[in-house]
């Protein structure tokens, strides 16, 4: 089976999932996965538990926020850059309003009554 290379950045406490490649506060590693692997496959490879995964980017597009898990099924491609932040990261609404995001998370926002105009989605009252 042919493989592909993914550039992975792990931030804060997630750096430890890079093992010896951890720089303490972050890690940058190259992950080789079978072609057509998904984000979930990458997380499985890293042994990164879902409750620790925070704001996530694929090629600079917002793909997931804590409580808005819209990226698991996304198929990755050779050369993709994936950035995964930790559960204590934040990206307030006014600072991501109009930023680039995946079609999957856009659709997730659209289906919500609040249309995604909130800061956090995990433990906030609606």
């Amino acid at each position: 089976m042919s493989t592909m290379n993914i550039e992975v950045w792990l931030y804060g406490p997630l750096a430890r999932y890079a093992g010896e490649q951890s720089q303490g506060s972050y890690a940058q590693l190259n992950v080789e996965l079978p072609e057509s692997s998904t984000m979930q496959d990458l997380l499985d490879y890293l042994h990164l538990p879902s409750e620790e995964k925070g704001i996530t980017f694929i090629n600079g597009d917002l793909a997931a926020l804590p409580g808005l898990d819209a990226d698991r099924k996304i198929v990755l491609h050779d050369g993709d850059r994936v950035g995964i932040s930790h559960s204590r990261s934040m990206w307030p609404m006014q600072y991501r309003f109009g930023a680039s995001m995946t079609e999957e998370i856009k659709e997730t926002f659209r289906q919500r009554e609040d249309r995604g105009v909130h800061h956090a989605y995990n433990d906030s009252k609606e």
């Binding site: 972050y26 204590r88 990261s89 990206w91 006014q94 991501r96 109009g98 680039s100 609040d114 105009v117």
Partner: protein
């Protein structure tokens, strides 16, 4: 009844007057902007005798309302030529509020230049009112504020300080008004827009606020206040961003560095890219881990001012475990780091400390250095030379004076056309080509490019939800709502960061309104918030229009329309009509 204190620097006289009825429901930015609108000729020279500098605590400042010790400082800005309000968290604000001083207005101008004064404001126990003594302050001029503040505390005891550094003495357009933090450091700035120069132009080096014996803030209805305080406190304690050991308390505002960098929205090397290869080394997570390594233990952040429960201010330590600087904020690390191609927290820490020592705004300074690097004065990434230039700014050498007057000034001096400013004020740390919404705020804010002008709270209450949303092509309505909500929060005395919790938790928002009712005796509901914000903005826009700032100034710098920003390779493509629709 609330009072206003006028400090006339022409003859060094002080006048105490009752707060006019028209001002009785105003506080913070609402009061500074209204006073500037009412009393300052929009066409006056910002550094001449007819400008006025106003200090106003917020509506609930000085009460036990959580995270509410902000002081608003307002005037006509020498940087933008328009109205300005900048605010800071500091014990100075509750001290002023405790004396019943809803506003201090500094006016006039002394005839003799080069002499410095301070105003010592204390409580007269016999007359039961504030009293003022003017004293010479020449011995403190021309010096590092980290030396001067301890001397002032030694001389006056437990007081609060508002003041200027050498940047304000030199009348730099990039000079802030400094206040003390909880440890007495000269580290809390009403930084933006050159308000330090306005203070300097009046020969006023410090206001020393001695609250001993002052009665504190009175309540119209303590029960209503308490009800509100509890709701807001609960929201702040619960929300992921604001709760203890949450995002801000653990990693500070710099937790945003890695996020914006991944998003391709971290302005790098004078706004030539949206991604910095060294970003992870200067992020909030790196501050946390760096301190842990240097101190041998985990260090969470502290409060900048009394009564804050968010506590987002960090302290950076040297390799030997001694304190280097507080605080390495997101904006400061970005401007003096990524925007200058610098990837060392020790270098950004030193540059931030020098900004505090001399009295300049870190955002404006980092953008100025970025432009200077592009103009060939020094190389991108050259932290050593950047530190040397900061000393030139502080000492007032010819090149220091060019850099101390802001990004536009430096760009003209050095022939640079990639100039990241709106209305003369430098952009903060969100690339508008990559994050379009914040660009609308930069363009249309009454303050010039300002990331704190457009926070949002509970959109369903502001009537936004269901009408427009973040994916509509026309974003003007949402942007206007952000601007209005922010003008309200800036008037309460609360830190803008309460917005993180009250956007998501409506009872917290309701609590913030009830707190105001408890102090003022008003019957506001959440529906009044938009109106209050709208009224403040209307005065600010009217002042700016009369000062010659038109809709044509509500624009992004031209280079952003034709230079593609990596990694998304995007340009600024929001139509001008959208910007014009924000303040129709």
């Amino acid at each position: 009844m609330g009072k206003m204190l006028r400090l006339n620097m022409t003859d060094r006289s002080a006048t105490l007057q009752d707060l006019p009825d028209a001002y009785k429901y105003l506080g913070g930015r609402g009061l500074t902007s209204t006073l500037v609108y009412d009393e300052v000729d929009p066409q006056c020279h910002a550094l001449g005798p007819n400008n006025k500098l106003v200090f106003a605590p917020g509506i609930v400042t000085g009460t036990p309302a959580p995270t509410s010790a902000r002081i608003s400082v307002g005037a006509k800005s020498p940087l933008t030529g328009g109205i300005k309000e900048a605010n800071a968290g500091t014990a100075f604000s509750p001290a002023q509020a405790a004396m019943g001083l809803k506003a201090i207005v500094v006016e006039g101008q002394p005839a003799d230049k080069g002499k410095w004064w301070m105003a010592y404001v204390s409580w007269d126990l016999n007359k039961k009112q504030p009293t003022v003594e003017f004293m010479p302050a020449d011995e403190y001029a021309g010096r590092d504020l980290y030396e001067v503040f301890p001397e002032l505390f030694k001389r006056f005891g437990k007081v609060s300080i508002a003041g200027i550094g050498t940047a304000g003495e030199f009348l730099y357009s990039n000079s802030g008004v400094v206040f003390e933090d909880m440890e007495g450091r000269p580290a809390r700035y009403a930084g933006r827009g050159g308000l330090g120069a306005v203070m300097g132009s009046k020969g006023l080096k410090f206001i020393i606020m001695d609250r001993k014996g002052a009665p504190g803030v009175a309540f119209a209805d303590k029960a209503v206040f308490e009800q509100g305080r509890k709701k807001l406190t609960a929201a702040l304690m619960e929300h992921a961003i604001t709760k203890p050991k949450g995002a801000l308390n653990s990693y500070g505002t710099a937790v945003l560095i890695n996020i914006l960098n991944e998003a391709g929205g971290l302005p790098t090397r004078n706004f030539s890219s949206g991604r910095f290869e060294g970003a992870a080394k200067i992020a909030g997570e790196a501050v946390f881990e760096g301190n842990k390594e240097r101190l041998g233990k985990e260090l969470y952040n502290h409060a900048c001012s009394p009564g804050c429960i968010i506590q987002c201010s960090n302290t950076w330590y040297r390799p030997d475990g001694t304190e280097h600087v507080s605080c390495q904020e997101y904006e400061s690390i970005w401007s003096l780091g990524a925007n200058c191609g610098i990837d060392s927290l020790d270098v950004t820490g030193e540059l931030i400390k020098l900004c505090n020592a001399y009295g300049v705004d870190t955002i404006e300074m980092g953008c100025t250095l970025g432009v200077a690097m592009e103009g060939g004065l020094l190389a991108f990434g050259d932290g050593k030379r950047a530190i040397e230039l900061m000393h030139e700014v502080g000492k007032g050498t010819p090149i220091g004076r060019i850099l101390g007057n802001g990004t536009d000034m430096a760009a003209r001096a050095l022939g640079v056309t990639r100039v990241p400013t709106v209305k003369g004020q430098s952009m903060p740390a969100y690339e508008p080509r990559a994050v379009k919404g914040i660009g609308i705020t930069y363009a249309t804010s009454t303050m010039g490019a300002d990331h704190t002008s457009g926070y949002t709270i509970a959109p369903e209450i502001l009537g936004v939800s269901g009408k427009v949303d973040q994916f509509d092509k026309d974003k003007a309505d949402l942007a206007r709502n952000f601007l209005e909500a922010t003008a309200y929060i800036d008037s309460t005395g609360h830190c803008l960061f309460i917005a993180f919790a009250i956007l998501d938790i409506a009872s917290g928002f309701e609590g913030s309104v009830e707190e105001c009712n408890g102090v003022l005796g008003t019957q506001w509901t959440m529906n009044d918030v938009g109106r209050i914000g709208k009224e403040i903005l209307a005065r600010e826009v009217a002042f700016n229009r009369a000062a010659g700032i038109s809709k044509a100034h509500d624009r992004m710098p031209e280079f952003m329309k034709y230079e593609k920003l990596p990694p998304h390779n995007v340009t600024w493509d929001i139509p001008d009509e959208t910007l014009d629709a924000v303040f129709p």
